[in-house]
């Protein structure tokens, strides 16, 4: 259920502007990898290259290789839609489908991909909601609109929706930045549980969060505004936050820069 990701010399562009340059790193299965760095350093862009969501933006393109186990996601004959089925994503702002009920939101990935068996769907809904620690809060109102939940519940609903399709990898783009501390804690606890089953990559601005939840941390930065972002270093979280190899990483995590 969980695979290793290796990025080799990934470059991403928005039109003619290069957003990230030469990123190479490995993401270990069944672990949480956090990506930190100042705004505009390309960590979100890099995350979106991992499930080929970057290219959805008009004019955006990616160069380089992203290997899921040994398969290049950007190789010839690879369908971006199929890649996204394998790699789930949770976004910065909770974005449940406003026209769907809680149940339909969770089931949407399966149902819209052609699974119609009600029993299979119901089981997947319960399993995913339990997996997202939301089942007890919503089990009596599965038919109500997903948009009626609180922000933290909505975000866990989005996590349930993402894991319902049983992806290999779960990408999280600042999943707690729109949430209060208690909801944030709930999601962080959830991540610790989910890493038993999925490879998790999380982008965060919150260094305490990265220190709390991740096993490995990658630090992104950019030379100057307008320059592409680069991966400065990636190592175990403990090493990055106690004894980083690079001066710039130390400056950033001690608050002297960024």
């Amino acid at each position: 259920m969980s695979k290793r990701i290796v990025a080799e010399d990934v470059n991403a562009y928005y039109g003619s502007a290069q957003a990230i340059a030469g990123v190479s790193l490995a993401i270990e299965p069944k672990s949480v990898t956090a990506l930190i760095g100042p705004s505009g350093c390309g960590k979100s862009t890099f995350l979106r290259t991992l499930n080929r969501l970057h290219e959805v933006i008009p004019g955006a393109r990616v160069e380089g290789k992203v290997l899921l186990d040994s398969e290049d996601l950007y190789g010839p004959g690879i369908d971006a839609v199929a890649v996204r089925r394998t790699i789930g994503m949770v976004f910065q702002r909770p974005n449940p489908f406003p026209t769907m009920s809680i149940r339909d939101n969770v089931a949407s990935g399966l149902r819209l991909n052609g699974i119609k068996n009600k029993q299979v769907l119901d089981e997947a809904v319960e399993r995913s909601l339990r997996g997202a620690n939301l089942w007890n809060e919503v089990k009596d109102r599965l038919g109500k609109p997903g948009a009626g939940l609180s922000g933290g519940q909505q975000q866990r609903l989005c996590i349930a929706r993402a894991i319902a399709v049983e992806p290999q990898v779960l990408l999280m783009d600042e999943p707690c930045s729109a949430l209060d501390p208690i909801s944030t804690l709930a999601i962080e606890d959830l991540m610790t549980e989910l890493k038993e089953r999925f490879t998790i990559v999380i982008v965060t601005h919150n260094m305490q969060q990265a220190a709390r939840v991740s096993d490995r941390t990658g630090f992104f930065s950019l030379e100057a505004t307008g320059e592409p972002g680069r991966l400065i270093e990636i190592d175990t979280t403990e090493k990055i936050f106690s004894n980083p190899s690079e001066k710039r990483t130390e400056d950033y995590i001690t608050g002297r820069f960024g």
């Binding site: 499930n51 969501l53 959805v56 008009p58 839609v81 199929a82 890649v83 996204r84 089925r85 394998t86 789930g88 994503m89 976004f91 702002r93 974005n95 449940p96 489908f97 406003p98 026209t99 949407s108 990935g109 819209l112 991909n113 609109p145 948009a147 989005c158 929706r161 993402a162 399709v165």
Partner: protein, 351 residues
């Protein structure tokens, strides 16, 4: 220093120096009285003149009083508030009076007999007869026009927002904008020349529906386009991230989210063409008989019914025209309300 600041905050400052509602009512009453007096003793006259005079006088009196008591800022506030409220009144009064006058004039003739009979076999002085044939015609023509224009317009809007790129989109937008400006009689004339005469199809409800389609299409396209653009990019990305292809994202996420707005736009287009008269005169023409077949033969419609009745000029004709006008408004209202009820469950505003 602190005292003057406190005075500027309502409820905290010097309350005796504010113009309270009873004071303002008294000012208004005084203005009306003085105006009545002036209209009685001077050559000033006329109801409309009186209303305008009172409004202007009250604006002057209130602003002056406010300026003296409350200061410049409050005086300006009162003047502008009065202006805003008058503007609201100026917008609402014509609307309400059109509606209420139509109801008042229309209910006289509007009964079961009027709704279930046509105008065949009637002499010019007969007061029975009805608009059954016109209701049938309008329903069929508008239904057909909607059935063509809404799917087509929605497809064009989807193309513009989701698929098209570059000059082709600009070209399509330009054509749609130009179509918005086509006078309705020109749309009718085009169908008349192309379909009725050119292809020898003759008058028919279908021809009328075609001309109405030309008028509906740009409205549907532009409103749907705006509504589709309002759907947040995050929802599309959420759908893509679940591994849904683009067409399914549009069909199952984007369109349902925008459905309330799209329906409203479509209903506005329907409301607009339901009252069109000019193109119908060239495409379905006028007939006193019921024609349920929209594919061939002259067919009546409510707007052309009103037009032809007014042209006859007798009191009974005016009554029929008013009753038909009321039916037309009611029809549009019923269509609008039912469409809103259908899409009420799925709205963006419930987020």
């Amino acid at each position: 220093m602190s005292a003057t600041i406190l005075e500027q905050i309502p409820g905290l400052g010097d309350d005796t120096r504010r113009l309270h509602a009873p004071v303002r009512l008294a000012l208004l009453a005084l203005t009306v009285l003085v105006s009545l007096l002036l209209f009685a003793v001077t050559p000033l006259q006329g109801q409309a003149d009186f209303v305008v005079f009172v409004v202007v006088a009250f604006a002057v009196v209130q602003t002056a009083t406010s300026f003296a008591l409350e200061g410049r800022r409050h005086a300006l506030d009162r003047l502008l508030s009065l202006g805003v409220h008058l503007a609201l009144l100026a917008a609402v009064v014509p609307l309400v009076s059109v509606l209420s006058y139509t109801v008042y004039k229309g209910v006289k003739k509007l009964d079961g007999q009027f709704l279930t009979h046509n105008l065949t076999g009637l002499g010019p002085l007969d007061t029975n007869g009805g608009e059954y044939h016109a209701i049938i015609g309008t329903l069929e023509q508008v239904l057909m026009a909607t059935a063509i224009a809404v799917p087509l317009g929605l497809l064009v809007a989807i193309y513009i927002t989701e698929y098209g790129t570059g000059w082709l989109v600009s070209a399509v937008r330009f054509v749609i904008d130009v179509m918005t400006g086509i006078p309705s009689i020109v749309a009718g004339l085009f169908i008349f020349a192309f379909w009725v005469i050119g292809l020898h199809r003759g008058y028919s409800g279908l021809a009328a529906a075609f001309s109405l389609t030309i008028l509906m299409l740009p409205v549907v396209v532009r409103s749907s386009e705006e509504m589709i653009k309002l759907v947040p990019a995050e929802l599309r990305e959420a759908s893509y991230a679940l591994g849904l292809p683009k067409w399914k994202t549009i069909l199952r996420v984007v369109l349902p989210t925008a459905s309330a707005g799209i329906t409203t736009g479509a209903m506005l287009a329907v409301a607009r063409v339901t009252g069109e008269t000019a193109p119908l005169l060239l495409t379905s023409f006028i007939t006193p008989a019921t024609n349920t077949d929209p594919l061939s033969g002259k067919q009546a419609a409510i707007p052309t019914f009103i037009f032809s009745q007014i042209g006859l000029g007798r009191p009974v004709n005016y009554d029929r025209a008013w009753a038909a006008a009321l039916t037309l408004i009611a029809l549009v209202l019923v269509l609008y309300i039912s469409a809103r009820l259908l899409t009420r469950r799925n709205t963006l505003s419930r987020r």
